[in-house]
């Protein structure tokens, strides 16, 4: 299958290792990965902060870039949530029939990374090997907007050597929330503290998620507290094999 990668702007800039891992997993499974260079950002930061007019050109650019893709893989649940929850509404509000038709045609081909593996490719075991204790934080957008349910856990359970440890109060927000962390830093930090305490309580050495944005927050808190626990995107764990260990 030819799979177009929308890596997301912050992964592109801050977490290139996630895009590299996605490429590695998909190619290892025999698929062709494409990376359209015109891509930048889904518009979520603008839209969620209230800059709705500014988000619209980003939606247009996304649609233009990926309209011919067979499947689009996005290693960011919050970006996919943005697309599914808001793109149609935004096009409707603009009264742009062509844009609306394009969005409707494209949306069913967009997959969050774990969805792509489980729903589209029908896989749970991707041949990964990762002999560490891992805990999993279900990010709010993956949980309540995409409803990915236990797909990431099913993938993690099939990783050889991996010991999966349950996270206490796992469905509670980490406190990132995009610009929320900047606009309400004290509340965000208090929410983060609850999350890092729970992560540290697991005894795991790795905390995984489908969103590097949440992981940036969780790592930021753990590292500030001097914790050695690392954070990894699910794709980075699935990219590991016996050869890479």
């Amino acid at each position: 299958m030819r799979i177009a990668l929308f890596v997301a702007c912050y992964n592109d800039t801050l977490f290139p290792r996630t895009g590299i891992a996605v490429t590695s997993v998909l190619e290892r499974l025999g698929h062709t990965v494409e990376f359209p260079m015109q891509q930048t950002c889904c518009g979520q930061m603008h839209y969620n902060t209230g800059y709705h007019n500014e988000a619209l050109p980003l939606l247009r650019q996304f649609v233009e870039t990926f309209r011919h893709a067979e499947a689009v893989c996005v290693p960011s649940a919050s970006c996919v949530a943005m697309m599914r929850e808001h793109y149609e509404l935004m096009a409707q509000k603009e009264n742009d029939e062509i844009l609306l038709a394009d969005v409707r045609a494209l949306l069913p081909r967009i997959y969050e990374f774990s969805e792509l593996l489980v729903d589209c490719l029908g896989l749970e075991d991707v041949g990964a090997y990762f002999p560490y204790k891992v805990t999993y934080h279900p990010s709010c957008h993956s949980l309540r907007m995409l409803h990915v349910a236990d797909k990431p856990l099913r993938l993690l359970r099939k990783v050889k050597g991996l010991e999966l440890i349950e996270l206490a109060n796992r469905e509670q927000c980490c406190g990132f929330g995009g610009t929320f962390a900047v606009k309400n830093p004290d509340v965000s930090a208090a929410m983060l503290k609850e999350k890092t305490t729970a992560v540290e309580g697991t005894g795991a050495s790795i905390c995984a998620a489908l969103d590097n944005s949440c992981l940036m927050q969780i790592w930021g808190g753990l590292h500030r507290e001097g914790s050695p626990i690392r954070t990894m995107h699910l794709a980075e764990i699935l990219a590991e094999t016996e050869a890479t260990q």
């Binding site: 895009g19 590299i20 930061m45 603008h46 969620n48 709010c140 995009g178 900047v182 930021g220």
Partner: protein
Amino acid sequence: MSVRVGKTATAPAFPVAAKKAMQDDQLRRNVHHATSVIRGKRELRVAEMPDWQRLRDAGHAIKDHTLLYLDHYLEMFERNCERAGGKVHWARDADEANAIAIQLIQRYGGTEAGGIEAIKVKTMTSDEVQMNPALEAAGIHPYETDLADMIVQMGEDQPSHIVVPALHKNRHQIREIFIKKMELDSLGDQPADLADAARVYLREKFLRVKIGISGANYAIAETGAVCVVESEGNGRMCLTMPDVLITLIGIEKVIPTFRDLDTFLQLLPRSATGERMNPYNSLWTGVHPGDGPQAFHVILLDNGRTELLENERERETLDCIRCGACLNACPVYRETGGHAYGSIYSGPIGAILSPQLQSMEHSRSLPYASSLCGACYEVCPVKINIPETLIHLRGRVVRENQETFLGSIAPENLGMQLAAHLFTHPDEYEMAQSLAAIGQKPLMRGDLIGPLPGLLGGWTKFRDLAPIPSQSFRDWWKSREKQQHKEAR
């Protein structure tokens, strides 16, 4: 415009108030404990309902329908209420509602030496219009009889939760308040001790005071009946013992038919307190000779509500049945408690209701008092899409800011405009990526980014931040392509 929802006009912005509230460890412990207990009970009671999602849909549909034809149902309620012997008054805003209430109380109470007294059953709407201060200014003494509201009133405090107004107080604090205000020599701090003291204090009021003031959970258009649900029975005393009953209702509380209660009396108690049914469900229709109050007045309050009817997204806020489930589910509320919202309506619903009832004048920070985690939407018994409404209101705040000169040159707006420009010009975006990776060097402290200035300072104050890697993903991709190209040749 007058202040519409509690004390918001003078309240500080949410981040400032939240920071202050969060320094009170006792308050945070109380709020954490109480919300987690209620959440646990709610989950239990919801889980035993196989048709819960369909009930939520039904609740949403009834509310949607009623709000679309609100004028029709309100007039129907008025006709039927008056046919049964009640009298309906219409209040455009808080001042009108208070003036009507005061006039009625003075008419029935006469001019007693030492002032007229009234007993009150829990009503958020009367807090919304700040009725107690208005009554006191007119020489009327209102006594709250809901236990939690009584604690708030005696403590000269503000409610901090829609259903549990004194949720931020623990029983030791409550004991102190009782000893002081009831002038007791001694009092135990067990729940039974506190309940006994309250019972003795309140019973005297129930037996003596002749005017009752209530809110209502539902006004039924079809029959003209009014419904109050509660847990303590104090409400029932207020509704049945006085000679005169004045009921203040927000116009959105009307429901079309008696049968619709079936849906809401299942949704509300489970969502609010984790009970299958409220211990007391009181319904009354007009007046009945020799039984209960002999004069019954309803004040229907608008106070900004009709302005929400036009826009579909905004209208949905009026679906709220005031169960408080979104407060208990909200991680932001749980850290700050209710006072930080600077409004009588706190938590996620307050963050959308208060700014709309006030036309955004006093509460522009509230739509941002959420991480958009969606927990509120998940638990809302009538499926109000609170996150979506928050985003809608943020859009209004941004547009209104951009229309002012200061707003248009604010760092956030400039930053967002720049980002939008870069995101629509991939070449420039790529250049900015490389520039940022180089430009961050002076900010580095060892392996990390040091304290950042301005807007981003809130991040580095509490969390570490790793630097931007020297190679972006697209750089990696391009070098890989080059390599593959070379190998192919």
